[in-house]
Amino acid sequence: MLQTHGEDAKILAGGQSLIPMMKLRLAAPKYLVDINGISELEYIREEDGFLRIGTLTREVAVEESELIKSKYGIIAETAKTIADPQIRNLATVGGNLAHGDPGNDHPATMIALKAQVVIAGPEGDRSVDINDFFEGFFETSLKPNEILKELKIPIPSGKSAGSYIKIKRKIGDFAAAGVAVQLSLDDSGTCRSIGIGLTNVDSVPLRAKRSEDLLLGKQITDELIKEASQLASDDSNPTEDLRGSEEYKKSILRVITGRALKSAVSRANGDM
């Protein structure tokens, strides 16, 4: 179907972004290819060194998965901030990424977790680093005849923990700004791996690379957290909208980056 109709066709997953866009006539596909019958794409499991999530997995399944809650708490924490319960009954993790909206919440978390996405097309599967997946505003590296199949997240080692913090006006609102942090500490407390992703502060989900580089290989002190938060805020590029001005968004981003880093460090140390 996708092969025959090319740009005229769109995949329908949870439909919780696509149907609203069609109502607003922001999308007017001639054909919809409903993938909801492909139950093989709904799974959450660890295999070959990766946590693997099928793209048709619903947000509600992510929220409730024992495996995710126990080892990848940040993903459940992120899912809980998305929309509302009815929408999460249908909305899929794959749709959240494939939509390419910088306001979606999973992209930042997948950046923090250093995920890869597996894409299936006529010539077979290909893996793409999450940092190369988002190409522009509502644009991803998916081609019209391809489908997002799986998310692959390396199983973390050492004392690893994460935190997702989102500022929104009310439940069901997209982020004014959001930040995802996932880090691993060794026994001496040195940061051995870190990922920081930002929601809705640029035309694409953003990786706070300078902040990551600053903290990697160091003991994370309050002083460094302050510096790293400032860098994330400096590197963001939010636009003014009903959720606030550019200055406001940069300022809350600095504050929540600091909070997320502190929370991830204390969770990694087992203090909760």
């Binding site: 149907i19 109502k23 409903d34 909801n36 319960p85 009815q86 009954n89 249908l90």
Partner: protein
């Protein structure tokens, strides 16, 4: 036109629908079940909430053809043999409604909430109904109504 077979409140119906027909329009206009309301049509208010195979969804954000072969429950199906569902009784007893516009959606969402979590605390109730907006009540009595239903359902019929 596409033919769909859907079980609605226990009874199977087959109809021909346009692929683009939203489920809420099918329920209200084809089935004449007007208890399911349209408050916003933009997926925000939850007035259109129904259950599809037991899961609460916003029927304004689904196509009818997506529920082919499935079972839907609307507010009209809550009454069994003339007796109100405990959730309906709770909304009556605790004054959980004023204008009543949000009520069918609130109740359908409450039914799923209580199935998943029969004894929710206040915070869980408030989070559980966060996809349903009410312009009248301020939610206090809605929370009480759901607590009433929770007590009734877990105490085998009494609210003591």
């Amino acid at each position: 036109m596409t033919s769909v077979t859907i079980k609605v409140n226990g009874a199977e119906t087959t109809s021909d629908v346009e692929p683009r027909l939203l489920l809420v329009h099918y329920i209200r206009e084809n089935l004449n079940l007007t208890g399911t309301h349209i408050g916003c049509e933009t997926s925000h208010c939850g007035a259109c909430t129904v259950l599809v195979d037991g899961k609460s969804v916003k029927s304004c954000t689904m196509f009818t053809v997506q529920v082919d072969g499935k079972e839907i429950s609307t507010v009209e199906g809550l009454v069994t043999e003339g007796a109100l569902h405990p959730v309906q009784e709770g909304f009556t007893e605790e004054h959980g409604l004023q204008c009543g516009f949000c009520t069918p959606g609130m109740m359908m969402r409450s039914v799923e909430l209580l199935t998943l979590n029969p004894k929710p605390n206040e915070e869980e109730i408030r989070y559980g109904i966060s996809g349903n907006l009410c312009r009248c009540t301020g939610y206090v009595n809605i929370v009480k109504a759901i607590q009433y239903a929770s007590n009734k359902m877990s105490n085998g019929g009494t609210t003591e």
